[in-house]
């Protein structure tokens, strides 16, 4: 790459400073939806629908009520779901890493008919839409 002082010089070119400003504005718009969600998470339910883009005021401010309700809602507590997600993620990642790396190593080393078939089947499975196997699975 280039030497450091050269890149520094490039950074201070007027056109690049304008670009930085433009992109800061775009980035701000880009994160706005997330901020709106965060803001609305502190409002009572009816105010989310009526005043979506206003900051919570004394009337609509719900404090952490929504969060407490979210954690304890229904007959299946939130943290249980989190625990399940974690278990499935960790176990499946370990299994996937182990099995697929072994398989990939073998497929790249051995070049016979079966290996080619397995390889192309794997590639093929990426295009198949989920609806195709949804019901039979």
């Amino acid at each position: 790459m280039k030497s450091k002082d050269f890149t520094l010089d490039k950074k201070n070119k007027p056109s690049n400073i304008i670009l930085t400003i433009v992109f800061s504005a775009i980035s701000l718009i880009y994160v706005l939806p997330v901020l709106v969600v965060l803001m609305n998470s502190f409002k009572f339910n009816e105010y989310v629908n009526s005043t979506t883009f206003e900051l919570p005021n004394a009337m609509s401010f719900a404090g952490f009520n929504n969060y407490i309700k979210g954690m304890t809602f229904g007959n299946y507590p939130f943290f249980n779901s989190v625990f399940y997600s974690f278990t499935i993620t960790i176990l499946s990642t370990i299994l996937i890493l182990l099995c697929t790396s072994m398989c990939a190593w073998y497929l790249s080393r051995v070049d016979n008919f079966i290996c080619k078939v397995v390889y192309y089947l794997c590639v093929f499975s990426m295009v198949v839409p989920f609806q195709m196997v949804m019901f039979t699975l």
Binding site: N16, V34, M102, L107, P129
Partner: protein
């Protein structure tokens, strides 16, 4: 022939096939190959559960072709795919192009643009539904009342989600453009546009191939966002029945399965047609863009 046989016998790795490949292959067959083949078989049957299938031949396909909602979903999906592929790739390339020029704060911008990817499809749909409805309420309407709002809403949603991911691929491609080529072109007196057209785009063609492939198949197979944002509303009533105006193919197949138990065979037939369609489009697209790639 004789030589190949001898090499095979000599290859000591052959004995390890069961250990190395079999676990993955077994999982693959259980999780994909068996359901896939059974799915093709079931598309010729009438069934409620997979075990009571009764062979009916091509009847399901005829029903699928006569289903107006399916055709509407197909054209809607095609239009959506066309617009979203163009919008996503154009903006992703532009953003990547600017962010590889070494402007201040590039890394922060990359993070910001990539962030929407970390949110799941269903959640995204609900977030944007809330925002669109928040805006449209001021005009006395809602996203589920007009199919145009549903269409452009989905485009905005998908662009917001996918631009960051495609941008990362384009940045990787742009960084591999050799600096010598750019300098040589500048010495020859090429302006910025000529450099972009004759050097940058041909060298990042592999990235363009991957990105168009990903956006194309993603848009065609789109389901979560469609379900969460509008779920097919508004519904138009015709002589044939109700047609959901913003329903895409994947959602149409899902609804065929789970709203009418007698139409499961038809749903499966639609799924087979859908698969053939996606595979054909993906193949054509790969052929088309591979031809334009240059060797370095």
């Amino acid at each position: 022939m004789k030589d190949r046989k001898r090499i095979k016998r000599l290859n000591p790795l052959r004995a390890y096939f069961p250990i190395f490949v079999l676990p993955t292959l077994a999982a693959f067959i259980i999780g994909f190959l068996y359901p896939f083949i059974k799915g093709i078989y079931l598309s010729f049957c009438t069934f409620r559960t997979t075990s009571d299938a009764k062979w009916v031949g091509l009847e399901n396909y005829i029903k699928a072709f006569n289903d107006e909602g399916f055709f509407h979903a197909f054209w809607y999906t095609a239009l959506f795919t066309l617009v979203s592929v163009i919008v996503i790739n154009l903006f992703a390339f532009m953003v990547a192009y600017v962010l590889t020029r070494g402007i201040r704060g590039s890394n922060t911008f990359r993070t910001v643009f990539f962030m929407p990817n970390l949110i799941g499809g269903i959640v995204l749909g609900y977030i944007w539904q809330m925002i669109f409805d928040g805006i449209l309420r001021n005009y006395g309407t809602s996203i589920v009342l007009d199919s145009r709002f549903g269409f452009w809403g989905l485009i905005i949603l998908m662009a917001w989600q996918q631009i960051g991911y495609m941008m990362i691929i384009y940045i990787a491609g742009l960084q591999s453009v050799p600096e010598e080529l750019n300098e040589a072109a500048k010495i020859d007196g090429a302006n910025g546009w000529q450099v972009l057209k004759n050097i940058t785009i041909p060298t990042v063609m592999p990235s363009i191939t991957i990105c168009t492939f990903l956006t194309l198949t993603n848009s065609f197979k789109l389901f979560d966002q469609n379900l969460a944002l509008t779920n097919g509303a508004p519904i138009a009533f015709t002589a044939e029945g109700a047609i959901k105006q913003t329903e895409m193919i994947a959602l149409n197949i899902y609804n065929t399965f789970y709203t009418n138990a007698n139409w499961r065979g038809v749903g499966q037939a639609k799924a087979v047609l859908f698969f053939i369609l996606v595979a054909a489009i993906a193949l054509i697209q790969l052929r088309f863009t591979r031809k334009r790639e240059v060797q370095q």
